[in-house]
Symmetry: C2
Subunit: 555 residues, 2 copies
Amino acid sequence: MPPDKPDLLDAARGHSPADMVFKNATIFNPFTGDWREGDLAVKNGIVLGTGTYTGRSERDCAGLFIIPGLIDAHVHIESSLLTPQEYARLVAPCGTTTVIADPHEIANVAGVAGIEFMLAARRDAAIDIQYMLPSCVPAAPLEKGGAILEAPDLRRFIGREGVLGLGEMMNVPGVLSGDPGIAHKLALSAIRDGHAPGLSGRDLNAYLLAGLQSDHECTSLAEAEEKLRKGMYIFLRDGSTEQNIEALIPLVTPFSVSRCCFSTDDCHPDLLMRQGHIDRCIRKAIAAGLAPELAIRMATLSPAGRFGLHDRGALVPGRRADLCIIDDPEQFAIRQVFCGGREIRSSRQTRSAPFPPSIHCQVPSPATISIAGTGQTRVIGLVPGQIVTESLRYEIDGRNIPDTKRDILKVVVCNRYGTGKCGTGLVHGFSFRQGAIAASISHDAHNIIASGVSDDEILLAISSVIQAQGGMAAVTGTSAEVLPLDCAGLMSTLHYEDVVSRLDRISTVTHEMGGIDNPFMYLSFLALTVIPALRITDRGVFDCGEFRDVPLFVE
Amino acid sequence: MPPDKPDLLDAARGHSPADMVFKNATIFNPFTGDWREGDLAVKNGIVLGTGTYTGRSERDCAGLFIIPGLIDAHVHIESSLLTPQEYARLVAPCGTTTVIADPHEIANVAGVAGIEFMLAARRDAAIDIQYMLPSCVPAAPLEKGGAILEAPDLRRFIGREGVLGLGEMMNVPGVLSGDPGIAHKLALSAIRDGHAPGLSGRDLNAYLLAGLQSDHECTSLAEAEEKLRKGMYIFLRDGSTEQNIEALIPLVTPFSVSRCCFSTDDCHPDLLMRQGHIDRCIRKAIAAGLAPELAIRMATLSPAGRFGLHDRGALVPGRRADLCIIDDPEQFAIRQVFCGGREIRSSRQTRSAPFPPSIHCQVPSPATISIAGTGQTRVIGLVPGQIVTESLRYEIDGRNIPDTKRDILKVVVCNRYGTGKCGTGLVHGFSFRQGAIAASISHDAHNIIASGVSDDEILLAISSVIQAQGGMAAVTGTSAEVLPLDCAGLMSTLHYEDVVSRLDRISTVTHEMGGIDNPFMYLSFLALTVIPALRITDRGVFDCGEFRDVPLFVE
């Protein structure tokens, strides 16, 4: 029994005052899906109950609505470019009080030390961050970045506070073939998130039989319905690039809602700051026709149940006093948030210390990235709005690259882990008229990747990233706009407001460069060899169909 | 990974045949609450999935409906008078494939050894029996039978296969006052069943805050709704005496059904044999207006979820092949049952070995149970249909007892644990015209209790129970009809058909005796000192209001 339990029991019975009573509130009940007026009493961060209570502090909530704190069922915090503490400070006022995070990116860069860094960050975060262990580091043998994590490496984290289970298992062929290494990972925990875009029929059956329980990759209603019927928890995703809520909303009914959650997966900080977090998902769901009560259930009790977090998700006795005050369920604007009974205030904290240096490379020489010769080449073709690429063929003369007329630019990947490797390829689709961009975010190895219209600008962009110990850089001429990502080259120790303003400035530069929107997003996936069709790595061009390195010039 | 996992994955993918395929069945889906036609494939007792499959054995199920095996969320097997094996043999053809059982009765008689006996019985039972540890042995200090179980006694069972958590916590005042012994018991497991009849408001809040999660004692819709809203799982009960389904059915909606289950709590074997088990609950629920789909969900995925039994409750890949074939969801007659992929056949097994002798007493002498003197006496008044009693007062002359005109009979309790104690009191309400009954079932200490119209018949009934090493006996003159309960005086090693036929014969005798229906049920509660108003123990008359022993004659 916690030492304060007798006090709590006394207060719950009304024999002693609560710390705080929200009087006359209209309170959401996720067990019945409706609202009921009453007083909500809290002590020591725990809900005592509803009914008639008096408290040391009381707050009249007549006309206001109270709901449990919101839960994100699956997110990669690294995609926000923020440290976990800053991420928490950003999403807490949006009503989020718990996120289930998979530190997949930092684990690819820094392995166990990366996960430890994320776990340590829980301590001074404004919300509760619970982790799922990254199950696919690296995503494929050739994808190796800074670490390989096998089951024995992950086992040390099992049972640690803040660790819930095994994160999204992306290696579907490995699961289906019964790969022993994967089986050992699956056996680590009873809670295992899946990741199986497009998988269906008997292969989906096998994937589930292996023990995967959830999916956040559904893009069509038919896909989501099959997965729901077969027992998967369905996380409806709304990220910076993948937005599936509208398509999937018909899946959510009073009967199925206990199996449906929201996930933001990968969100940039500007989206979070300007449009919100899980509150944004709820507003989208309501706009798509879902009853607010079902949307709120999806963001509260359903994810709490899915992850066995029976201490939250509902404002009932003994659970955490994680709650949001809203004006109106239909509009769903968050007015005030309490996490563990404490009001969320948006005051800035001291900046986190950066992660130990993780960029170990030099700026390549101009010769290294030069393309000599003429002939037919393999060119990576960007596909608007997609992370798949096309495998294109162009006749070129190396001396005429970049070829802005045909939109054929260089793309360069520098290994950041000290191997000295550097690969150069060609890309079609950025449409830059000037300048270059570089970043230390390139899935999943997170080597430095750059593209642009001149070698000088490409090298300056790479140099800017290296100097910042990771970052995003946009260069025009000799001027560079940089967002330092001094935590493993993935996250910034800056406050989120500053990260967003630097991103805005970078965005201004990339607009001036005249290319497509979100060039960094496309750039960050160009090295991901597990997605079709053509990629670039620190070894050079990679054909995903043949799953091997190929020369730039077609032989 | 289980050694057969690669085989199962292969078969799930359709690369090798299943053991058994139920072809063209209409299969219930508890995630969506509807039906879908398809093939259901099973291998090694595990569901491979639905879709198109071939199997070594195939069975055409066109026109038939398949549902997951049924789950009883809370039951005391001892109330069936059957060993767990015979109980399983009886309920399996009713579609039940899992029961969550609290061995409260045998624990009161035999403590840890009693629980071990029940656990050992899992091995050769036709269904899966999962146990909740009895939390209130004894129910009150004065109720002590053969054991006192504190948290350290229970801890040895935590983590054992077949042990799920802590059973119904009936000591509400102890919970509310923060009693440390109870707190230690609550801390044993994360799964804790409640028992809080009539508790509401802030005291209910405190009870929940202490960690109790479910209730099977609701009798009114308002009570159940409050408990549901406050986060309790609600088990709708249908036992031999307590029948709450009809009153509570409006609680169950598509939104709330994931929090609602069925419980049979205490059922006699004749009821089970003649009217069924959880299938009976489902039929009652349908008759009360519930959609069959909600009723089936309540009996399958909902209890599986409540108890964290994620390996059952739905016919989806990787879960146990526990299933029932039915002709029609509305009629809900069970046609065939499979548990762990094996068809349930009702063939008799070898009888279980009896429990070590647990009746350690002699037949009392006539002098011991004589009542001498005249004056006003305290008389226990039976209340039809209730387990509460009234505290009555009658002027008597001991020599004129029994007084069948005024329906005042003797009631005798003999300690069975070797203390030699024997208490005698008076009871009004049995209305016997002749004969006597005795039983070794008397909650919660399960001493031998008897009542009847003559001392000779009372003593013969007691003697019959002792000779049988526990049992139920109905005596007229010198003839005794006995059901031996050779397992702790609570359960019989006879086959269930024989138990029922002996009960029928006893029933014939008690009808001849001319008394009320179900006299043994009333008799079994007359020693239960935690329920108002007047009781009889091996020490004599007990006033539950004053919570103390009182003399028979009012002073």
